[in-house]
């Protein structure tokens, strides 16, 4: 029993060390089940546990030809409320802060899906930060 305790503590230590090493982590996220087979969006939250800012500058995925960071906006045009989205060059996660990508806000656009995605499967994404840090993440495909 005590051995198991030490083992778990060890695992926790490794996990903490890795987070400390990287300084930024992904706290939950999902890939939206594509309503048309060739594109979809992904959403996730980033937590910066360090004292310096992290800047997301790109995303890659083995399932998409390209991934863009987008922002959904709402504005009046011609006296009518219009929604749209536009690419953003980068996103900053401030020191000790959290950045949430969610429907109606920031999102990742997976453009040119190379194969159909199934609800429940995990999709691999690599988040690229300024300075070269690459953070791999597996996100589940969900209908939501």
């Amino acid at each position: 029993m005590r051995k198991l305790g030490w083992f778990l503590l060890g695992l926790l230590g490794v996990a903490l060390a890795q987070d400390a090493l990287v300084g930024v982590k992904v706290a939950g996220g999902w890939v939206r089940f594509p309503a048309r087979p060739d594109m979809t969006a992904a959403f996730l939250a980033l937590e910066n546990q360090s004292e310096k800012p992290f800047r997301l500058v790109g995303v890659k995925s083995e399932v998409a030809e390209r991934v863009e960071v987008h922002e959904t906006f709402q504005e009046m045009r011609d006296g009518k409320m219009v929604m749209g989205m536009r690419p953003v060059a980068s996103l900053e996660v401030p020191p000790g802060g959290r950045l949430e990508l969610r429907p109606g806000g920031y999102h990742l656009m997976l453009i040119g899906l190379k194969r159909p995605l199934q609800v429940g499967e995990k999709v691999k994404l690599v988040l690229v930060f300024q300075g070269g840090l690459r953070l791999p993440v597996d996100l589940p495909v969900e209908m939501r």
């Binding site: 939206r32 089940f33 594509p34 309503a35 048309r36 060739d38 594109m39 979809t40 969006a41 987008h70 959904t72 045009r77 011609d78 009518k80 409320m81 219009v82 929604m83 749209g84 989205m85 536009r86 690419p87 429907p103 109606g104 999102h107 656009m109 997976l110 209908m143 939501r144």
Partner: protein, 194 residues
């Protein structure tokens, strides 16, 4: 003693009047139109023309979007799916969710319909020629415009994302993209309409 009687009767009468004039029925969560506006269009479905006024007796939930829209459009269509699937089969038979593409150059009627049916098999998707789509959008005060244009196959469409409810040929109710996500309230509104 007598002088108490009149005021007492008056108070009782006023209470009674208040009771009779109490607000009746359902307070709608969606925006109710004071003067329901007559609306109609004919657009293309995968198996031919579909006319809005030829869905009599149904409450039609109408949303304009484009199929290469992975954030705003699915968020609303998922909300409509949640509300629709909350209804009983009898209620569902009297509700029709319709998706209209404001990207008719890329979305064929088949594309629009396949997209709508990815949310629920009973939803229908429509497209049409540029003029017909423009007219339908104008009828509902929907604005749309291409953006981020990189080529004929690579652009986005900014668009009004309101959900419209049409009943007996008239626009009766509308929801902003925020409001339409409150499934309980949308379901209560639909039940009050049916």
């Amino acid at each position: 003693m007598r002088r108490w009687v009149f005021p007492a009767v008056l108070v009782l009468a006023l209470l009674g009047l208040g009771y009779l004039l109490r607000p009746k029925g359902h307070a709608f969560y969606g925006t109710r139109l004071l003067n329901p506006k007559p609306v109609d269009f004919t657009l293309e479905g995968p198996s031919g023309p579909v006319r809005l006024s030829e869905m009599p007796g149904k409450a039609v939930l109408l949303f304009f979007g484009f199929t290469r829209c992975p954030d705003v459009c699915p968020t609303t269509l998922l909300a409509l799916k949640r509300a629709y699937e909350r209804l009983t089969p009898e209620e569902r038979a009297r509700v029709q969710v319709v998706f209209v593409s404001v990207d008719p150059e890329r979305d064929t009627p088949e594309d629009a319909d396949r997209y709508a049916k990815a949310f629920n098999e009973a939803f229908i998707g429509l497209s049409g020629n540029l003029e017909a789509v423009r007219e339908a959008a104008q009828t509902f005060g929907v604005f749309y415009q291409k953006s981020q244009y990189r080529g004929p196959q690579d652009y986005l469409v900014d668009h009004t994302a309101t959900t419209f409810v049409v009943q007996d040929g008239k626009l009766v109710l509308l929801y902003s993209p925020d409001k339409v996500e409150a499934t309980d309230k949308v379901v209560a509104d639909l039940r009050a309409l049916l």
